[in-house]
């Protein structure tokens, strides 16, 4: 599927390939095979040595290079910039690296290491009792060394997804008779009735949706919670979905699927633009429900919201959206790090609005609290 590079068209070919590079730099994952498809489509729509019309070029590219609705605005912008000539056409290799935001350090944990060098080295015994203390310690009060240790403990967390009945049936010792399989065994036995085969509905893991608030007030917990999300994603990659809530909604599921926690968290850092910013919980939750939740992601799923419930926007909107979420989901669990503190009362406007629609309100500020959360999720 290659387009003949006729002499007159080489220049043109280069221009089209340049567009693919620019598009890739703009964040549309257009790999070489898509690039080839683009050239093939162009060839179908016009003679290769003659410039195809702008409309044909536009559609040829859009149909072959994009793969999701989110790509379209980027595509439109890159297209008009490139083909109207405002982008400087670079010779030689195009920049492929997207600059990583500086917040990377705060998420991946390289900063705490740097700090650790300044401090006198702490003695951390790995005795069971020390572990026990650590497991109960609030994430926001951890020293850098302890943080490293908690990460290791987090990685050992066991996640057992809740289950739901599947459509498919599975062979079973008891249960209703499976006519199809029974007749099949009869056939094998030459038409004699041997014994009926039974079947039963299989169990499938229920989807788990994690919504993590990454606003400023949650930043002491964000790193641990994102790592927690990574541990769960590794345990059941196909059924765990992760989003961050802040001033906007970011889907992290894909980034979380890297097996290596550091690679995954780096990808997460690159994906989250509003780390430690403000919160508009109600609005971002609405975006989640409109774009993902109502279409099916939250349907019948267990949804966990990690947030302290500090709502700067309209608390009534948040209440409505949580109610909507709870109608879609199997269970909505709210994990509030402050709920673990002595004397906590759910008085923040956000929590008050959300409370009536919640399945459970949990703490989630320490390892033990997260373990409890995992239990609640498994039984939902």
């Amino acid at each position: 599927m290659t387009t003949p590079a006729v002499d007159g068209s080489t220049e043109l070919l280069r221009a089209h390939l340049g567009f693919v590079r620019v598009l890739r730099a703009a964040g549309v994952p257009a790999d070489p095979s898509r690039g080839r498809a683009f050239l093939a489509a162009l060839a179908e729509l016009g003679a290769p040595d003659e410039p195809a019309g702008p409309a044909s070029t536009y559609w040829a590219g859009r149909l072959t290079l994009c793969s999701q609705a989110d790509d379209l605005p980027r595509y439109d912008a890159a297209f008009s910039a490139w083909y109207s000539g405002t982008t400087k056409r670079q010779q030689g290799p195009a920049p492929t690296e997207i600059p990583t935001p500086s917040l990377k350090a705060s998420l991946t944990g390289s900063a705490p290491k740097a700090q650790a060098d300044d401090r006198p080295p702490e003695e951390l015994t790995t005795a069971a009792s020390a572990n026990e203390v650590l497991r109960h310690k609030d994430f926001s009060e951890l020293s850098p060394v302890e943080r490293e240790h908690v990460r290791a403990l987090l990685a050992g967390l066991r996640y057992r997804p809740a289950t739901r009945r599947a459509v498919r049936r599975r062979r079973s010792a008891r249960g209703p008779v499976d006519p199809r399989a029974t007749v099949r065994t009869m056939l094998r036995a030459g038409g004699e009735l041997v014994r009926p085969v039974h079947h039963r509905r299989a169990q499938r893991p229920r989807r788990l949706v994690l919504l993590i608030d990454v606003s400023g007030s949650m930043s002491p917990y964000a790193d641990s919670l994102l790592r927690f999300a990574h541990v769960l994603t590794c345990a059941a990659p196909a059924t765990v979905e992760t989003f961050t809530l802040g001033t906007r909604l970011t889907r992290l599921t894909r980034a979380m699927r890297h097996r290596d926690p550091d690679v995954a968290l780096r990808a997460v850092a690159a994906a989250v633009p509003d780390y430690a910013g403000g919160t508009r919980l109600g609005e971002t939750l609405k975006v989640f429900l409109d774009r993902w939740g109502q279409r099916g992601l939250a349907r019948g799923a267990v949804v966990v919201v990690f947030s302290d419930g500090w709502e700067r926007g309209d608390a009534r909107l948040l209440g409505e959206q949580v109610a909507r979420l709870s109608r879609l989901a199997r269970a909505v669990v709210w994990s509030n790090p402050h709920a673990g503190r002595a004397g906590y009362a759910p008085v923040q406007s956000g929590i008050v609005a959300a409370l009536p629609a919640l399945h459970r309100l949990l703490s989630g500020h320490s390892l033990v609290a997260l373990e409890e959360l995992v239990e609640v999720v498994a039984d939902a």
């Binding site: 994952p29 498809a37 149909l63 379209l72 279409r295």
Partner: protein, 284 residues
């Protein structure tokens, strides 16, 4: 292509026409994504009509598997046949022949994918692929890229001409990249006002021009209101038909309120419209 589609009553914009043309020319499946009610499924139907090809439809659902999509054996009939052979006392050709007879074409139940491979050239509609499981996507990928299946008892069945495949998705979940990479991707948007009016006129010639225009305009206004379920083209058509059934030739607030159920499918949305004032929205 646009002319062919128009001749069977489907009014494509340039994107849809180009997509359909490229899918044919490049022999690639066409992956159509978009809001419900933008005419993704209708495109496949229109393509089959316009090209004069038979259409095979595979409706996906959770838990769909190969035996529902590809083929299965008709076990009860096989069993009956076996009994009949026994009672005739006819094991004429020995065990192997009897077995060969049992696993032959006559007892094969061809499901949509196999039907499509056999019927090709044809249009294969894989509807709502986002409802199927990941494993099914992988299975589909194999069938679509090779255009052949192998049935252990019968051998290979291959299509001489690959079927024209249209996959649709409502984006309830993300479809795997490996599948998308082999397809042309088209995001289907709501049509613009003129096209929507034309669609209503085309599908419901009995509806007056004025009513068609007013309904299309009002539906567009509703779409901009951030509803839980913004109405699609299908809803525009339903609404126009409902108003026509009530004997209306023009849109008025009273009959609009009475027929709201054809357009809005959530109580919250209805409440919101009433709150914002119906006439303000309908006659902007």
């Amino acid at each position: 292509m646009a002319t062919a589609l128009r001749s069977v009553g489907y009014l494509p914009d340039e994107g849809v026409a180009t997509a359909a043309y490229l899918a044919m020319a490049m022999a690639r499946p066409l992956f159509c994504e978009g809001e419900p009610g933008t005419g993704k499924t209708a495109l496949a139907t229109a393509l089959s009509e316009a090209l004069g090809l038979p259409m095979v439809r595979l409706q996906c659902h959770e838990g769909i598997d190969a035996s529902q999509a590809l083929y299965d054996w008709d076990f009860p009939r096989q069993l009956l046949h076996l009994r009949a052979m026994e009672s005739r006392g006819a094991a004429t050709g020995g065990v192997d022949a009897a077995e060969g007879e049992l696993y032959s074409e006559r007892f094969l139940l061809a499901r949509p994918l196999l039907q499509a491979l056999r019927l090709a050239p044809c249009v294969l509609l894989v509807d709502e692929i986002d409802r199927a499981d990941d494993e099914f996507e992988a299975f589909l990928l194999q069938v679509l890229s090779e255009n052949r299946v192998s049935i252990p008892e019968l051998g290979e069945i291959a299509a001489d001409v690959p079927p024209l495949v249209v996959l649709t998705s409502n984006r309830t979940r993300e479809v795997h990249d490996a599948l998308k990479r082999r397809c042309l991707y088209h995001w289907v948007d709501h049509p613009d006002l003129e096209r929507e009016v034309a669609i209503v006129r085309e599908r419901l010639p009995q509806v007056s021009e004025t009513l068609a225009r007013q309904v299309a305009k009002a539906t567009r206004a509703l779409r901009s209101l951030d509803l839980l379920k913004p109405p699609g083209v299908a809803e525009t058509l339903d609404w126009a038909q409902a108003l026509h059934a009530l004997g209306r030739t023009e849109l008025d607030v009273e009959s609009a309120a009475a027929t709201m159920g054809a357009v809005l499918k959530y109580r919250e949305d209805g409440d919101k419209i009433v709150q914002l004032g119906l006439d303000g929205i309908l006659f902007r």
